[in-house]
């Protein structure tokens, strides 16, 4: 519908909208996060939800204690290999539509503990992540920025067509492999369905191969 016509109509007290707009508006303004934190980043997440930063302004203040009632998983903190199966299991238990924010260096890549013997090198090895926030820890403003980024992403989604969101595609998976504890590492060490080593490989910097896969 023509934007100009819409504003004109609104002046006359007539609201015209589409189902898609209404649907996206509803989803993006009631992103209820799952109530869990894994390490120091969770403290910033808590701060973001309290009065000073007031995440309630964005409809995301209702931290739910049950994955069944949550829409948003904020992976805030170090994901140890011992904890990773539980995180994936919680994600699997959340109802669609569901989103993931990977908060802080640890959740993105393992952060300061990347080479540790018991730290997962990024939660995106097992579940799809929508928004990453760098930082150690990211400030509450950064979390709010991530939330607004996610809202924009949701707002842009179209409900029909090939690029419709995952929860509207019957064949798209909503559950992912829960890794098992192996003798030396998690099994599998990553889920190839969701994770691929990124293309840019700085570890080859200075060689002729830099930038290649």
């Amino acid at each position: 519908m023509d934007e100009h016509l819409k504003t004109e109509l609104r002046k006359q007290g007539i609201v015209a909208t589409t189902l898609q707009e209404l649907y996206n508006w509803g989803r993006k303004n009631s992103l209820w996060p799952l109530n869990f934190g894994l390490a120091c980043c969770a403290i910033e997440m808590i701060a973001a939800s309290m009065a000073r930063y007031d995440m309630a302004r964005f409809g995301a203040e209702v931290f739910r204690p049950s994955p069944r009632q949550a829409d948003l998983m904020i992976v805030a903190g170090t994901v140890t290999k011992k904890m990773a199966p539980q995180v994936v299991r919680l994600y699997n238990q959340m109802a669609e539509p569901k989103y993931v924010i990977s908060m802080g260096a640890c959740a993105i890549s393992g952060g300061p503990f990347k080479q540790g013997y018991n730290v997962l090198k990024g939660i995106d090895r097992y579940i799809p992540v929508d928004v990453y926030i760098p930082g150690c820890p990211p400030r509450p403003e950064a979390l709010i920025d991530a939330l607004m980024t996610l809202q924009k992403l949701i707002d842009k989604q179209s409900l029909t067509g090939a690029d419709r969101p995952r929860h509207l595609q019957a064949e798209a998976p909503s559950e992912f492999i829960v890794p098992r504890f192996g003798a030396h590492d998690l099994e599998p060490p990553q889920n190839p369905e969701v994770w691929d080593a990124p293309l840019v490989n700085i570890s080859l910097a200075g060689t002729d191969d830099a930038g290649k896969h």
Partner: protein, 210 residues
């Protein structure tokens, strides 16, 4: 109360115990006392209960891995050279087997002194080496002995609840041992440097990536 005093007192009170003072050459000069595992519980109980010592607080328990190393020493040997006996210098190489060590830091809350540092060594670095647990003497050693069991693989005899504490139950390695081989998950290292860079390169060769 010096460590020498404590040592001689223990020798008098715990018959048969073998003690050795391990010097610390650093400025802190925190010398420690190496005790023999067979008398460890008796020694610990004595330290805790003796009227003037009263080491009632075990603040820290930790492990150390001493891998075996090659020692080369010059020895003079008599040899037959051209029919005549001559003295020649040879380099003899010996391989030590290494050991695991457990260290306890003790303080006295009541007497306000400390620390006294105890060390215990295993015979070798084999899988499933044993040392006596001191958890029954100092309750605070409980979790830390479990940690050493988990990360170094020392089995503490007499520990009330010896399970892994950081890694999962089915895990088989001991990550803090110096010969621990970590899983090869170096496919993406955005800030690789030094050893990590080396590991990342190795990963690429192993996986046959371009």
């Amino acid at each position: 109360m010096t460590l020498e005093n404590i040592k001689s007192e223990m020798e008098a009170n715990v018959p048969g115990c073998v003690l050795e003072i391990v010097g610390n050459p650093s400025p802190s000069g925190q010398h420690s006392l190496r005790i023999d595992p067979a008398h460890a519980v008796a020694i610990a109980t004595f330290l805790r209960d003796a009227e003037h010592l009263r080491f009632d607080y075990c603040s820290n328990v930790t492990g150390i891995d001493w891998p075996g190393k090659e020692i080369s020493e010059k020895v003079k040997a008599k040899k037959l050279v051209d029919g005549a006996e001559q003295e020649v210098e040879e380099i003899r190489k010996t391989q030590t087997i290494g050991h695991l060590e457990v260290v306890y830091h003790l303080y006295s809350m009541e007497k306000k002194h400390g620390p006294v540092i105890l060390r215990m060594r295993t015979e070798d670095r084999a899988e499933g080496v044993h040392l006596p647990s001191l958890t029954h003497v100092w309750r605070s050693a409980d979790f830390q002995e479990r940690e050493i069991f988990d990360l170094y693989g020392v089995i503490f005899d007499g520990h009330p609840d010896l399970r892994r504490i950081l890694m999962w139950d089915g895990f088989q390695d001991h990550p803090m041992r110096k010969d621990y081989v970590e899983p090869d998950d170096y496919e993406y290292e955005p800030t690789a440097h030094d050893q990590v860079l080396e590991r990342a390169r190795q990963h690429r060769t192993v996986m046959g990536a371009q």
